[in-house]
């Protein structure tokens, strides 16, 4: 998991670098009176092939273009920057996992146990704080409060009416949303009175509703204006009451699972917030800007957009949850967690059914949860523990293989 780009190079890099530049300038300026400054083009070509991540190169370029160094100064600055970067890199065999666990765990103790928040949106309730963080690392199939943020194409995003109409098209509509239903026990009929305002808003006609109900339940439906009369196939009270429930469950218009939509204006564009999530279906709507539409259901993202998108979603969701609580955790720790969780190609949970349960060491697994089961299984199978990890060595009372414990002395006898 050692990656150049993700190592901790940039921690405090700005401060360090400007100091470097200053130092370089003073030492060189003593000898030479302002030799001619190098051109921006030559700075570019010098920086291009350095073994530094693009963001640092970009920053270095910006700084250098401001200070306009001479050729020798430039060399010196570059050399010092590369040195500083190399020093800041995580060394091989460093226990990054433990550092990440501590760095997330400590602020986690300060998080509120029960926080429900109206994420800036009127009435939409979103789980935040510790429960949300647990949800993310446990890789729950469905979050307790799934929401989506649907961005719109420019044409829809600027026009409130068009955005509104699109919202009505996406929101799930059942019969109770657009009319009232009553059961006539004497005539063995179900009578539905449609609300004119509601049907026109959702752009659906009585005939369409009649067809839909007929297709789903096979009952005979007659439409007269805004009144629907339904005769059940089975002539029994039981059948009639079951039919009532069936009709209530039919999605007449919109996407199943999207229970409510709220429109909000954000930076001159209208955005739809939904209660409930159905990414795949919503992305196909004309007018929806699919490339910027989000959901907080990570498993859904993995399914619809792939594992790399899920990795990004885990990082941004975890960071947002922590930031909302006023906690600053370095993003590299979260990235490591996201990398581990997605390494197998699907989103695994951290815990006994995921990352922790797949550890190679029996003792390490037994130390975590369900101790007896792991020890029993291991003894039946005759498994061997290599004692290469931290936990197992702590258990048996040996030095761990990290830091000074990683070095072994060997005696080489003279020939």
């Amino acid at each position: 998991m050692v990656k150049k780009g993700n190592s901790k190079a940039s921690v405090g890099k700005t401060a360090k670098k400007s100091k470097d530049i200053k130092r370089a300038k003073t030492t060189k300026n003593v000898k030479k009176e302002r030799a001619s400054a190098v051109t921006p083009q030559s700075i570019d070509s010098k920086l291009k092939d350095l073994p530094l991540p693009p963001s640092i190169i970009e920053e270095l370029k910006e700084c250098l273009n401001k200070v306009k160094p001479t050729g020798a100064q430039l060399e010196h600055i570059i050399q010092m920057s590369v040195e500083a970067y190399e020093k800041a890199k995580v060394e091989p065999c460093e226990a990054v996992g433990i550092v990440a666990a501590q760095s997330i765990g400590e602020p986690g103790t300060q998080m509120t146990m029960r926080t429900f928040h109206y994420a800036g949106v009127a009435e939409i309730n979103v789980t935040l704080g510790l429960p949300r963080l647990i949800e993310i690392v446990d890789a729950r199939k469905i979050p307790s409060t799934p929401i989506m943020r649907i961005k719109l194409e420019p044409e829809y995003a600027r026009d409130r009416d068009k955005a509104r109409a699109l919202g009505w098209g996406i929101e799930q509509s059942n019969i109770i949303d657009i009319g009232s239903m009553s059961v006539d026990m004497v005539k063995m009929q179900i009578v539905i009175e449609l609300d004119e305002k509601m049907t026109s808003r959702r752009n659906i006609t009585a005939e369409e509703i009649a067809q839909k109900i007929n297709a789903e339940t096979k009952a005979e439906v007659q439409a007269e204006g805004l009144k629907l009369t339904i005769n059940p196939v089975q002539h029994s009270y039981r059948g009639l009451l079951r039919l009532v429930d069936d009709i209530k469950g039919i999605t007449l218009k919109g996407v199943k699972g999207i229970r409510r939509i709220i429109i909000r204006k954000e930076n001159e564009e209208y955005v739809l917030y939904t209660e409930g999530s159905a990414l795949k279906k919503v992305l196909q709507f004309v007018g929806v800007d699919g490339s910027r539409t989000k959901t907080n259901n990570i498993n859904e993202i993995a399914e619809v957009l792939g594992i790399e998108a899920a990795r990004n979603a885990i990082i941004s969701e975890a960071m947002d949850t922590l930031r909302e609580q006023g906690l600053e955790v370095d993003i590299r720790h979260i990235m490591l967690v996201a990398d581990m969780v997605t390494a197998g190609g699907s989103v695994k949970q951290i815990g006994r059914h995921g990352v922790a349960g797949e550890k190679a060491s029996v003792l390490s697994r037994a130390a975590f949860e369900v101790t007896v089961n792991h020890l029993l299984d291991a003894s039946i199978k005759g498994q061997v523990d290599e004692l290469s990890g931290v936990t197992e060595n702590v258990i048996v009372g040996q030095p761990i293989q990290l830091g000074t414990g990683d070095v072994e002395l060997m005696y080489k006898a003279k020939e």
Partner: protein
């Protein structure tokens, strides 16, 4: 209804299948075996889109908030 290409989404990074020769060079560079790479399923929506088969290695160019760009590799499985 319209068709949405998952590769257009802003949180999906660029995936490219790399050649056999590049795979060899990669494995030598990190001195690892192919199986030690992180995995991606062949049923993954992006894999289907770029037509990656089991056994291929995909190169992923991520937008990293710390490094600007970072490169990762995944082995296609299943």
């Amino acid at each position: 209804m319209k068709k949405f290409n998952v590769r257009d989404h802003e949180i999906v990074p660029e995936h490219v299948i790399i050649s056999k020769k590049d795979v060899e060079a990669l494995l030598v560079k990190y001195s690892i075996t192919k199986e030690q790479l992180p995995k991606i399923k062949s049923a993954d929506p992006v894999c289907k889109e770029i037509d990656a088969k089991s056994g291929d290695v995909v190169k992923i160019t991520r937008n990293s908030p710390t490094a600007g760009k970072s490169i990762a590799y995944r082995l296609v499985v299943g």
